[in-house]
Amino acid sequence: MRIGDAKQSYEADEAIWTTPTQKMWFGLFLLILLVFPFMADSYLLYLGCLVGIAVISTTGLNILTGFTGLISLGQAGFMGVGAYTVAWLSVNTGLPFPITLVLAGLMAAAVGILVGLPSLRVKGLYLAIATLAASVFLHFIFAEWESVTGGMGGLSLEPAHLFGWSFQSDFMMYFIIVPLAVLMVLAAANVFRTRIGRAFIAIRDRDISAEILGIDLLRYKLMSFALSSFYAGVAGGLFAYFYRVVTPESFPLSMSIFYLAAVIVGGMGNILGGILGAAFMTLVPEALKLLTAALTPFYPNAPVFMSPMLEIIFGALIVGFLIFEPHGLAEIWHRIRRFFRLWPFQN
């Protein structure tokens, strides 16, 4: 229920959470995130960490594709750059994780800027192909530059460490991944409250008009690439610490498509959409596996029958969302919110 929320200042009106109810829900959500690792079993903890990493990377791609309108198939490549940076640094320098993760992000951002250079000239599908080429090229470097990347065998690394603490278990990693995911999502939301975020959206909606308003297209497109790949780099770095082995096969092209699908299913150009899309894409295949396990006692043949079906059901779910909710999962959430806005007085 939301009534009588007249604002006293512009500051209050521009806040991310504008009502006490919203703040309460967000507080509750943080509390759940905090309590979760103490209640969850190892499998759920593992999933929690995966969702956290996926949320960071999806939010990054959402900045580029959802908000700035530049389609990229390079996300897995940028994550790979981040992962290899972390792996190389931890093998060769032993720096603590906050430094390696920032460097991973910066390295990925630098590569992102290079890959983004053609974006001034090419748009849409052509840009998708250009980023695809970049991701193939990166994959080639991961596999062939053996002195740095360890070639096809990849690199194995020590657990993340800071002040003598070693983050070996999933339980420990959860406390790196999830707070970082929350912070990075909030930072992304902040960007879209300022002139920089508005410039990104302006480029997506009508680039000629953006230019007439004094927005330098190349500068902001490259900034979007840099920011997006910074997120990918950090996500890749977390990935490296989480699995503690990085190979060229860790970041296949299908992973880029996975993130693009997450952005679309969640809701393009919507911060909440990035979170929901990442969670959906990570959890639904797992849920389908659980469903198979649950069916097995009744239908002993379920695993044989279901395992090839999983991919089909997963694909069908995505297609279903695209048809019935083209604005993504975030739109469903907004609809629920609208329903309860004046509830129970009017709906």
């Binding site: 521009e14 930072a187 902040n190 300022t194 002139r195 959206i201 230019e211 308003l213 920011l227």
Partner: protein
Amino acid sequence: MSVLDISNLSLSFGGVKALQDVSFRVPEGTVTTIIGPNGAGKTSLFNCISGFYKPQQGTISYEGQVLSSGIKPPRRAALGLARTFQNIALFRGMTVLDNIKLGAHVHMKSGLLSALAYFGPARREEMVVRKDVEQRIIDFLEIDHIRRQPVASLSYGLQKRVELARALAMQPKVLMLDEPVAGMNREEKEDMARFILDIREEWGITVLMVEHDMGMVMDISDHIVVLNFGQVITEGLPSDVQKNPEVIKAYLGNSDIDSLRKKLNPEGEAA
């Protein structure tokens, strides 16, 4: 004192001569209107001034400074040349408020890092812009009731008004309006005419306008430039331009206005 000085401007696309040796001045603090039949080169001229087209010959001087082709559209915006488009060029996915705030982009400075943190300078700057947009522009153009609505959901007349608001947020010295009242009903046209006059009088902004609605053009213009086939036919006060036989010919295809009137309306003075 002229704020814009166009001299000997020529622009051609392949064999098509869009502008031929066009020269005129826009006196500071006036509403100057460019009229002419379709295809006369009015929008091409606007695109030259904004920097989208590069004229083959001639110069455009703005406040005494020659705008060479190296000065790109974003730089021209920062210099104080604002513009609206013939076909509304708003950002459809954004709210009215965000569209208007985008106009202030060139006057804002906060960088990416402070934007990510939304702390300190970035936050203060956003608040200053919000206050300015609310008090100076939204109130003035009477669009406070729609500030939260996405632009795509608004009527045509309101969208035009939001586009004007966005141009005003750029704090321009010269405001270029490409057909500001096309497709509007009478009431919306009157509102727009009132806003344009207020912009000139209260804010001291020079208005350069392209418009087809002769009633409005004659009512609010201080200075009129007539283009036909890419050339300036005549320029001057509305009353002078109205009487010019060349203008009548360009518009009606016949210099004998009286015989034309009779042809159209055989009853004569009955109407």
